[in-house]
């Protein structure tokens, strides 16, 4: 979203007028995310599932942009759609998909699983229906142009001071190191 456009959007909100196109964008992106989410769990071919998952991830990145989170949207596209999905596609091509796409796709206890998922859905529906009044209708307008800078300040701190999340950030890097080691050792034939 370019600065001119977001400035226009903000002034439109300040003028007490909801931006006209925005609900449509939301419904298109949400519909795209859910429809390709359905495709992820129903396709027979794992490659088709992976491509549908990429569409879902991109649609969710669009929703992040609508929520004034451009940095998270960028991370979503680069790390998820660019990194993790390539990993998935590599593994799909390493393992034998021809055989598994000809076999039964759902396990024997799928009715139980579906029932459990429906119970979860009922829980969500009742929680959202009952808690509707708890959510304020207002939506804050976060500053978009300094979003990345503010996140960096929270992650790294500023002026030699540790930020609020610096320690957690370092632990996350340690987690990634452990994950790299684990993946390498796991896939090695002989250690």
């Amino acid at each position: 979203m370019n600065p001119g456009m977001s400035a226009g959007l903000n002034s439109a909100i300040d003028a007490g007028m909801a931006p006209v196109g925005t609900p449509w964008f939301f419904y298109v992106l949400a519909g795209l995310a859910v429809a390709s989410g359905v495709a992820v769990i129903t396709r027979r071919n794992a490659v088709h599932s992976a491509l549908a998952l990429i569409v879902t991830l991109l649609a969710v990145a669009g929703l992040y942009l609508m929520l004034y989170a451009p940095f998270v949207a960028g991370v979503q596209i680069i790390v998820y759609a660019g990194g993790i999905m390539v990993l998935f596609l590599f593994v799909i091509m390493l393992v034998n998909i021809d055989r598994s796409s000809k076999e039964r796709q759902f396990n024997r206890i799928w009715p139980v699983g579906l029932l459990a998922a429906c119970a979860l859905l009922a829980l969500f529906v009742s929680a959202i229906a009952k808690g509707k009044a708890l959510f304020p209708d207002r939506m804050m307008t976060l500053p978009e142009s300094s979003n990345t800078q503010q996140i960096a300040t929270m992650l790294y701190g500023e002026a030699g001071k540790m930020g609020q999340y610096t320690f957690a950030f370092e632990i996350a890097s340690l987690l990634l190191l452990v994950a790299i080691l684990g993946a390498v050792i796991m896939t090695k034939k002989k250690i």
Binding site: M17, V20, T22, P23, F26, V34, G37, V40, I41, A46, S49, A50, L53, T56, V60, L67, A69, F71, V72, V75, Q76, V79, I84, F88, V91, I92, V95, N96, S100, F106, N107, V112, G113, L114, A116, A117, L120, L121, F124, V125, I128, F135, P136, D137, R138, M139, M140, L142, N147, I151, M154, L155, A172, L176, A179, I180, G182, A183, M186, T187
Partner: protein, 122 residues
């Protein structure tokens, strides 16, 4: 953007209909996230292919991220977005280790179906 403007089904002109459409609130995002979460749970519980089970887990993590970012906008601070980034890191680590396990398993047993993975069963 205050309140829910207009009631559905009320007679109104085209222009008015566009301007008084229900504004998108946090609740809308929560509904989308709940739908994605349930889809992920269905995928985890019913599919046999391990790769698709891992993809369904990614769907679940994305639903959580969407909730966090929506709440971040609702409260007007960035803690939710920072947390969403941490969850993305977690998803990357989980995918790497999970797929590593899958490859070593496939090398041993030539299958990627969850219900045939029973080496630890006795």
């Amino acid at each position: 953007m205050e309140g829910r403007a207009g009631t559905p089904g009320a007679p109104r002109t085209e222009n008015r209909a566009l301007r008084t459409m229900v504004p998108i609130t946090t609740l809308h995002y929560l509904v989308v996230a709940a739908a994605l979460f349930v889809l992920g749970v269905i995928g985890v519980l019913t599919r046999r292919n391990v790769v698709i089970v891992l993809m369904s887990i990614e769907l679940i993590l994305n639903a959580v991220n969407l909730n966090l970012v929506a709440f971040s906008r609702m409260w007007g601070n960035l803690h939710g977005q920072v947390f969403a980034i941490f969850i993305t890191v977690d998803a990357a680590a989980e995918a790497a280790v999970g797929l590593g396990i899958l490859i070593s398993f496939f090398r041993n047993k030539e299958t990627i179906n969850v219900d045939e993975i029973d080496l630890l069963k006795w």
